[in-house]
């Protein structure tokens, strides 16, 4: 098996339009959640979210591109540019032929569906733009990245709700590890903050009207976010040969399915994913210093996740640190694991642990060190990033300081 390292990272989310801005916001415990702004928002019961601000497609993309890029594709391309330029990798020859793009998204072009349904149902139009299908398809973002950067190897999109990005990155990691590709572009994106996107979530009655407070006894639900996180996963020797800067090493992954309930989380499923990732990485639980939790801020997820951590880590659960950065950037659904991997990179590379903000009241069912409200400086060798999706599909990644 080959070693796999991350040589580039890019993002756009409610906390910032770059990795540096996002990590600075996480260090400072800033909240990117605010009042939603889009058409018909007044008809929603839930009016807050982690919306990306100051990002206008006009001027950034030309007219032809705009007709093809849904907002989730725009986010992806923007973040991919940061990641690939940081990495310095160029895809030519054999590298181009074997490298590809594996991305996660739950909804794909949700706002394109929304705009066009509105046009035919509400406005009574009988004609839509010819590119509606290539704009809204879930693989649109992966395809545009492959076209932009000459990636001619295996490319596809994974859709596993809130675990999409982690499943995508787990697969990309495996493809590089097995020698199938010298490098893979991976991560994910989501853009559901439009009337139809939020209305659908509202129906489930698990959303908070005021704030995302993971692990806090008074938590009352999740808050949606939007954006993208994109990474260059590269084979270690390949990265070394070209003198690339290494952000961290990816050392393990595991995926599990609860096979139980379509929305309720399972402690066993979550525990199997975490212990599987440790086993895959060949490390013991005691070496994990930080976990970026799934931590949605719902009653069910947070207590189930904490119980699973206690089961997997035993007494070490009281020593490790765990936080949910969704309290700051919101829940990016299919893109969330990608943005959250940034917090794991910051943990192992910089020794800075992002906080769980909005933490107000201890919950005996979430009795772990959740890094309440303020970042901590702790040297961490290994970190885990958890994602547990609706449908009971779980994926966990393990990373290591280099």
């Amino acid at each position: 098996m080959k070693r796999v390292v991350i040589t580039g990272a890019g993002t756009i989310n409610a906390l910032g339009h770059s990795v540096d801005d996002t990590l600075e916001a996480m260090r400072e415990g800033r909240c990117g959640i605010g009042k939603l702004e889009f058409r018909d928002v007044e008809r929603l019961a839930i009016q807050i979210g982690g919306q990306v601000r100051g990002f206008e497609a006009e001027g950034r993309f030309n007219r032809q591109q705009m007709t093809l890029y849904d907002r989730f594709t725009q986010f992806t391309l923007f973040a991919a540019q940061e990641a690939i330029s940081q990495s310095g990798i160029e895809f030519v020859g054999d590298d181009a032929a074997r490298s590809g793009v594996v991305l996660g998204t739950a909804g794909g072009g949700v706002s394109t569906w929304d705009d066009n349904y509105r046009s035919v149902y509400e406005d009574g139009k009988n004609r839509v733009h010819p590119f509606v299908v290539p704009k809204l398809m879930n693989n649109a973002a992966a395809s545009h990245v492959s076209m932009e950067y000459n990636l001619k190897g295996p490319s596809f999109t994974v859709s596993t709700a809130c675990a999409s990005s982690n499943h995508a990155m787990a697969l990309a990691f495996d493809m590089v590890r097995r020698g199938m590709a010298p490098a893979m572009i991976t991560g994910g994106a989501e853009s559901m903050l439009c009337f139809g996107g939020v209305k659908a979530w509202e129906g489930l009655r698990v959303m908070s009207k005021d704030a995302c407070r993971p692990f806090s006894a008074n938590r009352n639900g999740m808050v949606q976010g939007e954006g993208a996180g994109i990474f260059v996963f590269e084979e270690y020797e390949h990265a070394r040969a070209r003198g690339a800067e290494i952000l961290c090493e990816v050392v393990g992954q595991a995926m599990s399915s609860d096979a139980a309930d379509i929305v309720m989380p399972s402690k066993q499923g979550a525990a199997r994913a975490m212990s599987g990732a440790l086993k895959d990485a060949g490390i013991s639980g005691d070496s994990i210093g930080y976990i970026n939790a799934h931590g949605t801020g719902t009653a069910a997820n947070d207590k189930t996740e904490c119980a699973a951590v206690a089961d997997v880590f035993g007494p070490h659960a009281d020593c490790l640190k765990i936080s949910s950065t969704k309290s700051m950037h919101g829940h990016l659904i299919g893109g969330t694991g990608a943005v959250e991997l940034l917090a794991c990179i910051m943990a192992v590379r910089d020794g800075v642990l992002a906080p769980t903000i909005g933490y107000e009241e201890a919950d005996p069912e979430c009795a772990l060190d959740v890094i309440p409200n303020e970042a901590q400086e702790v040297k961490v060798d290994y970190a885990l990033s958890n994602a547990f999706a609706f449908g009971g599909l779980n994926a966990v990644l393990a990373v290591r300081r280099v």
Binding site: A45, L204, R205, S208, N220, G221, I262, V263, T298, A299
Partner: protein
């Protein structure tokens, strides 16, 4: 049909029972209605009476809408209709 019978019909349908099997003192748990069934029942009640029911699945006990048994749901619906109509 009065409000009580309409609420019972909705709950019975969710529980896959005859309305006669749903009594005012039955709890949703007695009737085998889980959290998903509860959210669906509330949706059906909102549609039936054209009201908004304040309910967050994360804090069912703190919602203004009392779901402790069928009778409390019926009186909750009656109160909401009176408020919102």
């Amino acid at each position: 049909m009065n409000i009580k019978d309409r609420v019972i019909r909705i709950i019975a349908e969710q529980a896959v029972l005859e309305p006669s099997d749903v009594t005012p003192d039955s709890t949703l748990e007695d009737l085998g209605i889980d959290s998903l069934g509860l959210v669906e029942s509330i949706f059906a009640i909102e549609e039936e009476f054209d009201i908004n029911v304040p309910f967050n699945a994360n804090e069912p006990s703190q919602s203004d809408f009392d779901i402790s048994n069928v009778a409390s749901i019926i009186s909750g619906v009656e109160a909401l209709i009176a408020q919102q109509k």
